[in-house]
């Protein structure tokens, strides 16, 4: 199963490595990790997604709670929260497929940020599964490079 954690932490040096180290030490894999300051510059917010059985996900939550630099841990469920991911992707094109590619982006609400002679740089954000689907669709054109932010999530 998938666990989505929204974690408030002290915005200090070493805290990110303490939190990620906690996962590594217990053999828990981090699927995605997104970090940023909150409106209070002393506090950062992290969204961490991880996969594991019920016991693993429970242990992750408990171990996060034990960390002194962790202020609050919330476990989010897919149904009761909004999950988003943003992606920048460079997709190759040629004269024959350029128009359908641009049309596809328009339909999906993806934004073409730059048209280079051989590729388009596209920005796309959506629910994580849709981002996956978008990537699959781009594979037919030829993906040159991808940057993803990882999931950010918030309770509804």
């Amino acid at each position: 199963m998938k666990g989505i954690f929204s974690v408030l932490v002290e915005n200090r040096d070493g805290v990110l490595s303490a939190v990620s180290g906690l996962f590594a030490r217990r053999g828990f894999n981090i699927d995605t990790l997104a970090v940023g300051e909150t409106d209070n510059h002393e506090i950062s917010s992290m969204t961490i997604t991880s996969t594991g059985d019920q016991r693993t996900i429970d242990q992750i939550e408990k171990q996060l709670n034990k960390n002194v630099d962790v202020i609050k841990v919330r476990r989010l469920s897919d149904a009761k929260s909004v999950c988003l991911e943003m992606m920048l992707i460079k997709v190759a094109y040629n004269l024959s497929n350029r128009t359908p590619l641009i049309e596809f982006c328009q339909v999906m609400g993806a934004k073409v940020m730059k048209v280079a002679p051989k590729y388009l740089l596209i920005e796309y954000h959506d629910e994580p599964e849709n981002v996956e689907d978008f990537i699959k669709a781009m594979k037919g054109y030829g993906i040159i490079e991808i940057q993803r932010t990882g999931t950010i999530a918030m309770e509804k």
Partner: protein
């Protein structure tokens, strides 16, 4: 009046009531040592940094308060890591202060720079790198608070040299309380859960308490004893839980686990309700925790993360165990029938000790039995790691004293420095370290610490000229292919003792044991007794 960072550090220790620290100085911590020089705090110089940590561990366990160890940057600090890991595994409250290179030089790999916060991350409860001298009072207050509350453990304070030298801009003020957003150890006991537990205990016909080291760390021995006696509930314990009840207490059914008593394990099998208290249920105590799940298990622990980690499903009750047991003492619980105790007593007597003591050299089981009979009721027994630890745990007749060992990490050489620490807390108590010849050679540098500080420690050295427990493992699992385990006949321990000005004796047969142990425990002054054990004499 302004003070320097180093002076502030000393003031913080004074405010915490610390009057003794264990350490090993170096340039990066020299300003703090100047502060110590001008204070009333005693410094015990160890001979290797790891032992500063172990000595502080013994001191903390005996005084039941956090103890302090101090090291310099780089190799001094990295040498301490094993001791921190040991204390962390056993939940011992330590404050480790390490010097660090100047803050301006951090990250440049200058002489004796080591990233201690990064290196110790998985072995400490929390760590600090202090970059501003004005943070010192708050950091120390928090460190002592974190180390000694909730599930106890070591806290590291890494302080760059320039921070120790700089003057505080503000007046020194030691805070009265702490505000840590992410650390709230006071757990309110869940009244519904407590009621459920009391109900289960009331209905149970064959309840059994399984007590771990957390009971001792939580100062819960007395209240659990009252609880057992009031409701006629028997108890088994882990290795770290030795001493919750005296060994000969009628409700104590011994140590469970791989290396424990068969009747203790059988008691676990017969119980209809298991009350696990302050124990991790790690592999050594219960190798197959999944087998336990067919009966009701109540798990009481201060650490939420322990619940369900190794055994489940359970009825959890999180909180301070002394508080919980005090509440349960007033609970509506029926006093258990004597038939349950009689059933266990019967198992105990039917699994009589059929062991025949080896007549080759000294039998280690007999040695521990005789030693514990002769020890004072309140003696402190520190067992090292290896066969000697298992012989000790199996045969030691616990009275009202303390049994200490490193159950979690199993760090060789722990006993001598830890016993030095314990003895410095309670010089009036008979203190014995029982150690094998492998571990002794890891820790014998501390004999001079012992001498320098007039620590009257009795060291019982179990000599079989092998790394016995590994040898035993190779015997059972690798067709007796003994590789890398032979210690040979060196050194001559009599000469080692002489070199350190210690009195010395050897015992090579069971017949001599009484006389030699009497010599060992009598009179004044630290001494070493070597007991020769046959290398073929295995734990099992």
């Amino acid at each position: 009046m302004t003070v320097t960072g180093a002076e502030a550090m000393v003031k913080c220790l004074e405010a915490e009531g610390i009057n003794l620290v264990f350490g090993y100085p170096g340039v990066a911590i020299a300003p703090f040592y100047e502060g110590l020089y001008n204070s009333g705090i005693e410094h015990v110089l160890v001979r290797q940094e790891q032992n500063a940590g172990h000595a502080a561990s013994g001191y903390a366990r005996m005084s039941r308060k956090p103890a302090v160890c101090v090291v310099t940057s780089g190799p001094g600090a990295t040498n301490l890591i094993t001791a921190l890991a040991t204390a962390y595994a056993d939940s011992i409250p330590l404050i480790a202060i390490s010097g660090q290179v100047s803050s301006k030089l951090l990250g440049r790999d200058v002489f004796q720079e080591a990233d201690m916060r990064g290196a110790t991350r998985s072995f400490v409860k929390h760590s600090y790198l202090v970059k501003d001298p004005d943070d010192i009072p708050r950091v120390f207050k928090e460190a002592f608070y974190i180390a000694s509350t909730g599930r106890k453990g070591p806290v590291l304070i890494d302080i760059p040299m320039d921070v120790q030298q700089a003057e505080l801009r503000k007046q020194f003020h030691y805070p009265e309380g702490v505000i840590i957003r992410g650390y709230k150890p006071e757990i309110k006991i869940n009244p519904i859960q407590l009621k459920r537990v009391i109900n289960l205990l009331d209905q149970a016909e064959k309840p059994l308490i399984c007590a771990g080291g957390g009971v001792i760390l939580g100062n819960g021995e007395q209240v659990i004893r009252e609880f057992c006696e009031k409701f006629n509930i028997p108890l088994v314990h882990t290795m770290m839980g030795m001493g919750v009840l005296p060994k000969k207490h009628p409700l104590n059914f011994g140590m469970l686990g791989n290396n424990g008593k068969p009747y203790a394990n059988k008691a676990v099998g017969r119980a209809d309700l298991l009350l696990v208290v302050g124990a991790r249920i790690a592999d050594r105590a219960i190798p197959k925790p999944e087998k336990l799940t067919r009966r009701a298990i109540i798990h009481i622990d201060i650490d939420t993360a322990e619940i369900g980690k190794n055994v489940g499903p359970t009825i959890p009750l999180v909180g301070d165990l002394s508080e919980i047991f005090a509440m349960m003492l007033d609970g509506d619980i029926s006093r258990k029938e004597d038939s349950w105790i009689e059933e266990l007593e019967e198992i105990k007597t039917s699994t009589v000790d059929t062991r025949v003591f080896s007549d080759r050299l000294v039998d280690p089981n007999l040695m521990v039995q005789k030693l514990s009979e002769k020890l004072d009721d309140d003696a402190v027994y520190v067992a090292d790691v290896g066969q000697n630890q298992l012989w000790s745990a199996d045969n030691y007749i616990m009275k009202e004293g303390r049994f200490m060992t490193t159950g979690g990490m199993g760090t060789m050489g722990y006993s001598i420095p830890a016993a030095i620490g314990a003895k410095l807390v309670a010089p009036e108590k008979q203190t014995v370290a029982v150690i094998g010849d492998g571990a002794f050679q890891m820790a014998m540098n501390e004999l001079s610490t012992m001498r320098n500080n007039n620590v009257d420690l009795r060291i019982l050295l179990v000599r079989n000229r092998y790394l016995g427990l590994v040898r035993e493992y190779q015997h059972k699992n690798y067709d007796s292919h003994y590789e890398g385990v032979k210690l040979s006949d060196w050194p001559d321990y009599g000469k080692i003792a002489e070199a350190y000005g210690l009195t010395y004796n050897e015992c090579a047969s069971n017949d001599e044991l009484d006389e030699k142990l009497n010599w060992f425990l009598d009179g004044e002054g630290a001494r070493i007794l070597v007991c020769d054990v046959d290398s073929e004499n295995n734990v099992k």
